[in-house]
């Protein structure tokens, strides 16, 4: 049982100090997500907090996923930006 940080992480460090198990660390490797959760240490915060702390503070939608790959903060859940506008943004970013 462990959460995972994916590519969209912007490396803001917010999650790192909150982890009760010190499972989160910065990876300084190009091509990898900026932060990494050690699956052997992550307990999804069970026994420490009601909610997984990293996912509670992470400001980036979709950056933290569960073992099924489901985002804990799905698109649109943090900013309230409508999905179709987010899509347009994505496309514009890709074109650049």
């Amino acid at each position: 049982m462990s959460l995972e940080i994916v590519d969209s992480c912007v490396g803001c460090f917010a999650c790192e100090p909150l982890c009760p198990n010190k499972a989160i660390s910065a990876v300084m490797q190009p091509g990898e997500p900026l932060f990494f959760i050690n699956p052997d240490k992550c307990t999804e915060c069970l026994g420490d907090h009601d909610l997984p702390q990293c996912a509670e503070i992470c400001p980036i939608e979709g950056a933290i996923v569960d073992e099924y790959g489901e985002a804990l903060n799905p698109l649109g859940s943090l900013t309230g930006i409508p999905l179709h506008l987010l899509e347009q943004m994505r496309e514009a970013e890709c074109r650049q």
């Binding site: 460090f13 917010a14 100090p17 909610l51 980036i60 309230g80 930006i81 987010l86």
Partner: protein, 503 residues
């Protein structure tokens, strides 16, 4: 301790009289402050328009995490609303930040203020922020420290802040009403949970107000910044202003929302309008209530180095700093000399300004001078208080309002330089349109040099370009231009105005 508040209103009489330098007809926003606070403030590049030509500040990016979300912020990128870089900018460890600060301070003796403003919220990264402050208080006692915060963790940090050489704390307070707050802050992280909407905003507001009171009661200077978001908090900010001043904030600074879609912020994507320069100014007049302070605040990049206006960051990248050997003890002696020279110069200027007020025989010019109206003049400058920037290279214009006797600094109008010196010049036409729009209300533009083409377009837009005052001090030049226009009869008042202005 009660900190007085700067306002346009006359200082209460019977308050022990006013100090000499502040006792003129000239608007002097500092004159209301008691001596110990004025002395803290008057040499501060961020507060004193006078001093900001001479002293410099820098910011170090040591604090990446944030504990709230603002609708004008996308943490991926540099934040244009708060003075903070995005996480993509150079993030430093406290040790690196200290080394950089010492290196810059040794190379640029004018650097007197070190701030931590991000990339996230400094107080959401207390270890990193306070480690930096602790080392600097020890190693460089001649550097003032400042910190900006969204306020959520402020009450918990006040005791620690009070231990360091903290010059002032800036709190960004955009509202005091949770309903409005919910439109600005979608969520906060509080007691191990993400709390959304009105509930989250309510906690944030309570913490901000509590933190503000705790700081002022300890005698720590507090400045409040607000982002003006038209249709969301623009009217409300007047109320905010009253409350924060009553609680002892010595300055309330209103900044315009910057919301561009490509920044990927909520407001940017949703098309939230930014205030126009005139809307901003009207609100600043209502809120900040001060004539000369803080209008020069330019929401500088948090990691900018150098005198306000010139960015010398490239000289101090991490690898270059690694190679530098800084002997700070020696540097501090050198710095003290430079500071003394600057202080002497500033004092002389102040004395000169104050002098005519004590001349009882001064002729009463009032009747002699025909009434003329106030105008706005834009200046292209790189800093140093002189007109020394080409129109085409200017990233911003300083706007002054000048009347028959007084002038005041209104603020900066940022722009994309007309000529970037490369192919982007092809886009010059639309860029010029943008510049002209940003200069709404301005009648004269002074630059060290202005090209032929923009000249014609500026004229067409009712802005008189003028390159005759290159390298002259701004204040002398605008006075000369004003007097010349007045003499040419260009500034006659319409009748109704004339009565109003005379009153």
């Amino acid at each position: 301790m009660e900190l007085p508040v700067i306002s346009n209103a006359a200082p209460p009489s019977g308050g022990g009289g006013c100090s000499e330098s502040g006792c003129g007809t000239e608007p002097d926003a500092l004159s209301h402050l008691p001596d110990h606070i004025r002395s803290k403030v008057q040499d501060h590049p961020c507060y004193s328009e006078e001093a900001h030509h001479y002293f410099a500040r820098m910011h170090v990016a040591v604090a990446p995490a944030c504990n709230i979300q603002c609708n004008y912020c996308n943490r991926k990128y540099d934040c244009s609303n708060e003075s903070r870089p995005g996480v993509v900018s150079e993030l430093m460890t406290p040790d690196q930040a200290v080394k950089k600060t010492l290196a810059v301070a040794a190379a640029i003796p004018q650097m007197t203020v070190l701030g931590i403003a991000g990339p996230g919220d400094p107080l959401a990264n207390p270890e990193r922020t306070f480690e930096t402050f602790r080392q600097l208080s020890e190693q460089a006692p001649d550097i003032k420290l400042c910190v900006s915060t969204n306020g959520l963790s402020l009450p918990d940090c006040v005791d620690e802040l009070a231990k360091h050489n903290i010059d002032h704390v800036t709190i960004t307070i955009n509202c005091v009403d949770p309903e409005i707050g919910a439109k600005i802050y979608p969520w906060i992280f509080w007691e191990n949970k993400r709390i959304r909407g009105v509930e989250g905003a309510k906690i944030l507001i309570e913490q901000q107000q509590k933190g503000l009171e705790m700081l002022t009661s300890r005698g720590i200077l507090v400045k409040v910044n607000s982002v003006m978001i038209p249709g969301v908090n623009d009217q409300h900010l007047k109320e905010v202003s009253k409350i924060v001043k009553a609680k002892g904030a010595f300055l309330h600074n209103v900044m315009p929302l910057i919301a561009e879609a490509e920044h990927g912020t909520y407001y940017g994507i949703m098309g939230q309008p930014e205030p126009t320069p005139l809307e901003l100014q009207a609100l600043q007049d209502d809120c900040s209530g001060d004539m000369s302070m803080m209008r020069h605040c330019r929401q500088c990049r948090a990691d900018a180095v150098g005198l306000l206006g010139e960015d010398r960051g490239d000289e101090f990248t991490l690898d270059k700093i690694d190679e530098m050997e800084v002997d700070y003890a020696t540097a501090m002696v050198e710095r003290a000399k430079v500071h003394e020279a600057i202080t002497t110069e500033l004092e002389m200027k102040r004395a000169l300004k104050a002098a005519p007020k004590f001349n009882p025989d001064a002729p009463l010019e009032d009747e002699a001078v025909p009434a003329t109206r106030n105008i706005r003049i834009a200046i292209a400058t790189k800093g140093g208080g002189v007109i020394n920037e080409h129109f085409g290279h200017a990233h911003e214009f300083l706007v002054y309002e000048i009347g028959p006797k007084e002038h005041r600094f209104l603020g900066h109008r940022k722009c994309t330089p007309y000529c970037m010196g490369d192919e982007s010049c092809g886009d010059g036409e639309t860029v010029l349109g943008g510049i002209i729009r940003s200069l709404e209300g301005v009648e004269v533009l002074l630059a060290s040099k202005i090209g032929f083409e923009p000249w014609a377009d500026l004229e067409k837009a009712g802005i008189q370009p003028n390159g005759e005052h290159a390298m002259e001090p701004i204040e002398d030049a605008i006075r000369a231009v004003y007097d010349e226009m007045a003499a040419a009869g260009k500034l006659a008042l319409p009748r109704a105005d004339s009565a109003a202005q005379a009153a």
